[in-house]
């Protein structure tokens, strides 16, 4: 009897049926084993014609050296917590950010908390924050902000979270966390109480306080910490204030930024992730790529002067929506230490500032510009 003709489609369906009908209840790993090894065996035995159902091996897009994504971490920053009975809005916002991060699948390798957990550095505020952050599934790396520090000069914060200055190595990247909110003593001469000092620092436009700085002691520590690392080691630095001079009146500023930059200059590429500015903020100075973080509490306006050219400003946040301009985000780290910076804005589409954008000095990977004007 003459063999009945079967079309390619028919043979494909028949072959795939044979292939997948018998093995039931496969888990993902078994399925993958079966679909490659099993099919290869069938083909070798001539039971399965090579022209029909074959798993196609997709060639991975070959990443150029240094540009393959290595891992990612999430961030939450600037929650400015009061005690719950005074203001529960900021508490709810931090809880929302924790939910955001816990819902990431797969989970980030760790979560950076970017400083200003408390509003007035009070023990109740810091303890509340610590309690909320304990709900995060991923490990947390803490950074200090000025609102956490100037009531008791960091005593409670250190008790809860340890040293504010530390470093560690992870998947080929050297991470450094600094306390960049050191201020010169403006309070002793004025006879201020601890709360007066705290409230002075808490006011962004309060001209009595001094500019932020990293200070000689930490710069010396940083020099020693980096001394043993080769210049091609990828470095990522966490600092609360931007490690450059943007706008002094609001302390969007680090007074000894040039000294810190000089320590980092010998490395090929350095990324600085900072809080404090509560907005989309991108900059590059030489080999150092800067990314800001969003606040969960409120957005700041952009500085009236000195804005970095690479920053694509978000338009004015809606004053009738307390969550607009706020959010959290994640950082995708590449093997060369450069990053995609994701701003997860709660009331808007997320904005990604891709690695290529700062790497090309703004020529490639330009993030979307808002239709509306900035401030």
């Amino acid at each position: 009897m003459r063999k009945k003709h079967r079309s390619t489609e028919t043979r494909y369906r028949k072959d795939s049926e044979v292939l997948f009908s018998s093995p039931k209840n496969f888990n993902r790993r078994d399925f993958l084993k079966f679909s490659t090894a099993g099919v290869a065996a069938l083909v070798a035995k001539g039971l399965l014609p090579p022209t029909t159902f074959l798993p196609v091996r997709v060639n991975q897009a070959e990443a150029s050296p240094g540009t393959a994504q290595s891992f990612r971490f999430a961030y939450i920053s600037d929650s400015h917590l009061y005690e719950k009975d005074i203001n529960d809005r900021f508490v709810r916002s931090l809880l929302r950010a924790v939910d955001d991060v816990n819902n990431l699948d797969p989970q980030p390798d760790f979560v950076l908390y970017g400083g200003d957990l408390a509003q007035l550095g009070q023990p109740m505020e810091l303890e509340l924050g610590a309690q909320i952050l304990k709900n995060l599934k991923a490990p947390v790396k803490m950074m200090v902000g000025e609102h956490d520090w100037y009531l008791d000069m960091g005593a409670k914060w250190r008790e809860l979270f340890g040293k504010p200055t530390y470093s560690w190595d992870y998947k080929g990247i050297h991470f450094v966390t600094l306390n960049s909110v050191v201020e010169r003593d403006f309070w002793t001469k004025r006879g201020m109480t601890p709360m007066e000092r705290m409230k002075t620092v808490a006011g962004l436009d309060n001209g009595v306080q001094s500019p932020f700085m990293v200070g000689e002691e930490q710069r010396e520590w940083l020099r020693a910490d980096l001394a043993t690392y080769a210049s091609d080691t990828p470095i990522i630095v966490f600092s609360h204030s931007p490690l450059y001079k943007l706008y002094k009146s609001w302390n969007f500023w680090t007074d000894d930024a040039e000294d810190v930059q000089a320590i980092l200059n010998r490395f090929n590429d350095v990324v600085v992730i900072h809080g404090h500015t509560h907005q989309l903020l991108t900059n590059r100075i030489g080999n150092i790529h800067y990314h800001g973080m969003l606040s969960t509490a409120w957005p700041w306006p952009y500085a009236p002067e000195g804005m970095p050219e690479l920053t694509i400003e978000m338009n004015r946040s809606d004053p009738f929506n307390p969550n607009d301009g706020c959010g959290d985000g994640e950082v995708r780290v590449y093997t060369d230490g450069l990053v995609d910076k994701v701003y997860n804005l709660w009331n808007r589409n997320p904005v990604t500032v891709p690695r290529a954008y700062t790497a090309s000095w703004g020529k490639e990977g330009v993030p979307p510009k808002p239709n509306l004007a900035s401030y």
């Binding site: 009061y82 203001n87 809005r89 509003q119 002075t200 436009d205 609001w250 409120w298 306006p301 009738f320």
Partner: protein, 167 residues
């Protein structure tokens, strides 16, 4: 009201100081004092007077912790000074306006009162308690140096609220 209270306190304090100084100045003439301290030098009298004055001033300062509120607020935050209206004193005056001639005192008074008003506004802007906030949030927390405040005119239809807002 605030200004009146301050002025009253200041007047009382200076009155007290004056009484104390007068008392010291005439102390040598009293029979009691004359018996035991007949030969006080002028510098001794002056230093005693200063000590009393300092004591009174310190007491007043303790009782009035916000005594330097204008100076302190101007140190903390940028306050734009009142405009210079001294040109009003020049040239022909008195014709075409209701209040006759401006005097130098008018100009100074206007500048001083306006500045006090602005400084008090700055205090309220930066203080959640003075503002009367129920959630401890002050204006400057989102609007440093009053940035991004977008002054607008009302009444108008507010899209976000879906109705005409009077404000």
């Amino acid at each position: 009201m605030f200004s009146n209270a301050r002025n009253t306190l200041a007047a009382l304090s200076f009155a007290g100081l004056a009484i104390a100084l007068v008392g010291l100045g005439h102390g040598g003439d009293t029979p009691e004092r004359g018996k035991h301290e007949t030969m006080k030098t002028a510098s001794e009298t002056r230093s005693e007077g200063r000590a009393v004055a300092d004591m009174l001033m310190a007491q007043w300062k303790r009782e009035n912790p916000n005594r330097d509120w204008v100076i302190e607020e101007k140190e903390r935050h940028t306050i734009i000074p009142p405009a210079d209206n001294s040109d009003l004193l020049e040239g022909e005056q008195g014709e075409g306006h209701a209040y006759g001639k401006y005097t130098e005192q008018d100009i100074l008074m206007w500048a001083r009162e306006l500045e006090k008003l602005v400084v008090e506004g700055s205090r309220v802007f930066h203080d959640a308690d003075l503002l009367g906030s129920t959630i401890a949030v002050s204006c400057d927390m989102c609007h440093p140096d009053a940035a991004n405040t977008h002054p607008e005119t009302y009444p108008k239809f507010q899209v976000q609220m879906g109705r005409v807002v009077l404000l």
